[in-house]
């Protein structure tokens, strides 16, 4: 790579995190493709790399690449926000390698050991077998240690340097983010209690702490990419925190309708999760409003140029606002009332929502952060899009949207046939899977998955080459 314009150690470390995140993102997509092929051709890699294995790697790589990119984002913005170099960079670097090594080992065990005997050694060393939290216990403990180190750096830096609103929010949020993970580390014989705590991690991560995290990142992006006014943006951030936590924390009730928990969760889940889309709507307007405002101010001064200092990154930030609203808001609202969730629970509907929400809310903005890193690493003042960035954006976003639509149609068949009529029996399940709409839905998911993957390859090429393009302002 050409000249490295980064002088901050914290930012250099951030680029390490981003790099490994991008690699895991690729692995995520590859194993997603394997699982999608298995829906269409059930014999594919049967008893070699079964669906459960492919899916485990798919969703674990997803969570971990996002955690990596999130940690990278914090290391990235800390020097800008606090005005000082991040404290404890040495520790950060050491833990980076520890974390990477641990993940490689965990994935290799998933792939080559796959399952273990029914005893605690399996839970400790091979697999915990709880969706998203499959990582064996030793890795859980490792993750906690690594994240504690990260939080130490964040707090030490925030306390020594200037503590802006963004840093304050991140400090509180990251602590909650790490603390909640502990709820998912135990073992119990009781499946209801098990799933009760399991949702604490999954739901309180993606619908509370991660949402607030992206709120903070979006705030940073608006200040740095379009020069939005800090005070306005930070006030917004606090309002978003209030709305997100206010609805999201108790919105967890929408997972407690059917796992053995009491009926009152029907009401709590319905009320609070129905309100969850509101902050997403608000975040969406906020981005557009600020953008319009800054551009308007610029044009009022007679300058016709765009206020955006990083076109590809800003595009991904805007797509985040939209994707979050669409994936979490619209697709979440679809199935969040108990009356409907009774039929959609655990169908391809859930999968449709899971894909668009994770992608729309998180993948987008983190890709945006990759572009910000590339811009600064190459010392570019105003970074413009290339043909590749445009193709990558369209193919990835279009691909995931296409997969979502296909899964939604498949889910619809499943709701009618497997749920409303046959009530989730074995025969009902396979009758639903045999529906022509369902089968075609699975074909289209695979096709759109391939589109997404090609988009990803172009994205990586672009990230590696855009820095040396000549049409940027330097």
């Amino acid at each position: 790579m050409a000249n490295n314009y980064l002088t901050s150690e914290s930012k250099k470390l951030a680029t390490w995190y981003f790099t490994f995140a991008a690699i895991l993102f690729g692995a995520q997509l590859l194993f997603g493709l394997v699982a999608a092929i298995q829906y269409v051709m059930p014999g594919f890699l049967f008893e070699i790399l079964d669906f459960s294995v492919a899916r485990t790697v798919h969703i674990n790589a997803l969570v971990i690449w996002m955690v990596f990119a999130m940690m990278g984002s914090v290391y990235w913005l800390l020097p800008d926000e606090t005005g000082i170099e991040t404290v404890g960079i040495g520790l950060g670097k050491l833990f980076y390698w520890v974390f990477v090594a641990a993940i490689v080992v965990v994935v290799l065990v998933y792939l080559f050991v796959q399952v273990g005997p029914a005893d605690q050694t399996t839970i400790w060393f091979i697999m915990e077998g709880r969706e998203y939290l499959e990582a064996p216990r030793w890795a859980d403990i490792g993750i906690v240690v690594v994240v504690l180190g990260f939080i130490y750096n964040l707090y030490a830096t925030g306390m020594k340097g200037k503590r802006t609103g963004i840093v304050t929010v991140l400090m509180a949020d990251m602590l909650a983010f790490a603390g909640i993970y502990l709820a998912g580390m135990g073992y119990t014989d009781n499946i209801s209690v098990d799933q009760f705590w399991w949702w604490w991690v999954i739901h309180l991560w993606v619908e509370a702490t991660w949402e607030v995290f992206v709120g903070a990142i979006a705030a940073y992006g608006l200040i740095h990419m379009i020069g939005a006014h800090r005070k306005v943006v930070e006030m917004w951030l606090w309002i978003e925190v209030a709305m997100l936590f206010g609805s999201g924390i108790l919105g967890i009730g929408h997972h407690y309708f059917w796992i053995g928990t009491p009926e009152y969760w029907w009401e709590i889940g319905a009320l609070f999760s129905a309100l969850e889309p509101l902050p997403l709507v608000a975040m969406f307007i906020h981005v557009l409003y600020d953008w319009g405002k800054q551009q308007g101010a610029q044009e009022a001064q007679g300058k016709e140029v765009s206020v955006v200092t990083n076109k590809p990154a800003f595009t991904w930030f805007v797509l985040q606002a939209f994707g979050n609203f669409l994936g979490a808001g619209v697709w979440g609202f679809f199935h969040t009332f108990p009356q409907v969730n009774l039929y959609t629970h655990g169908t391809q509907f859930t999968s449709a929502h899971g894909h668009l929400a994770f992608f729309g809310a998180y993948a987008t903005i983190l890709i945006g952060m990759f572009y910000i890193a590339v811009q600064n690493k190459n010392g570019i003042k105003v970074m413009k899009a290339t043909k590749k960035s445009i193709w990558a954006t369209c193919m990835i976003f279009g691909g995931v949207l296409g997969m979502t639509v296909a899964l939604t149609l498949a889910g619809y068949v499943q709701v009618l046939v497997s749920r409303a009529q046959m009530g989730a029996t074995w025969a009902g399940y396979f009758d639903g899977q045999a529906g022509i709409w369902f089968a075609q839905g699975m074909d289209w998911r695979l096709i759109m998955g391939v589109v997404t993957f090609i988009g990803f390859i172009i994205l990586i090429k672009d990230l590696l080459s855009i820095g040396s393009a000549t049409h940027h302002e330097r």
Partner: protein, 228 residues
């Protein structure tokens, strides 16, 4: 020139955010303290005394289980040992499970615990849903114990050549790919005989959990009408 208003003061919003978050978190913790005791596993004494628990004790494996519409609650509920006059569990009618209907609390718990552990060690949740959560590649296991497929007239029981539901399920779990039921097959996961027995106990127990009526209309309609 505008006046400073509280609505545009960051400190005000910071404080509001903290209060709202704190309040929501406290409410969640309080509700957790209310919910957890309600979903703790019952025991054999409850069953003997006819006390219905949301998650009953492991010795339910000694009883006949059904899933019946409750008029009062407006949806199906698990009924253990036959229904009483109110339509809830009477804990009377027993049923042999691997040849016995007198599994003690300890024995039953041991099997159930092994089964739960096996369900994690074999990663069931990344193909199936349990209580509706997990993956969507294979049927939901919440009420699989009650599935007509495994019943006396069900094709799966016949296919394994076993004469009881539990033996048929265990046999299938040990050698799933020997009994292909569909182009999409379950892979062999190295499940031992003891683990299989535990898993079946775990599944039978899961079917007795009060899931507020999920799944709805279980097995009510035999063939699909729409959507093909």
């Amino acid at each position: 020139m505008a006046q400073k208003s509280v609505w545009s003061d960051n400190r005000f919003w910071q404080r509001s955010a903290s209060w709202i978050t704190g309040f929501a978190a406290m409410l969640l913790i309080w509700l957790t303290f209310d919910t957890i005791p309600q979903i703790m596993m019952g025991n054999d004494t409850d069953i003997k005394e006819g006390v219905t628990k949301r998650v009953p004790g492991p010795t339910v494996i000694n009883y006949k289980i059904t899933y019946e519409m409750s008029k009062r609650r407006g949806h199906e509920i698990p009924v253990i040992g036959g229904a009483n006059a109110e339509g809830t569990s009477s804990f009377q009618e027993k049923e042999l499970f691997f040849g016995r209907d007198d599994w003690s609390q300890e024995e039953a718990m041991e099997m159930l615990a092994l089964g739960k552990l096996a369900s994690q060690a074999k990663n069931c949740m990344n193909c199936h849903t349990l209580l509706g959560n997990g993956a969507y590649y294979a049927p939901d296991l919440t009420k699989s114990w009650l599935d007509p497929m495994w019943g006396p007239e069900g094709p799966l029981q016949a296919m394994t050549g076993k004469s009881t539901k539990e033996e048929a399920m265990a046999e299938f779990l040990i050698n799933p790919s020997q009994y292909p039921t569909h182009a999409r097959m379950m892979p062999k996961l190295g499940i031992t005989a003891a683990e299989a027995k535990g898993l079946v106990a775990f599944l039978k127990h899961m079917s007795t959990i009060d899931t507020n009526g999920f799944p709805r209309n279980f097995g009510k309609i035999k063939g699909a009408v729409h959507g093909k």
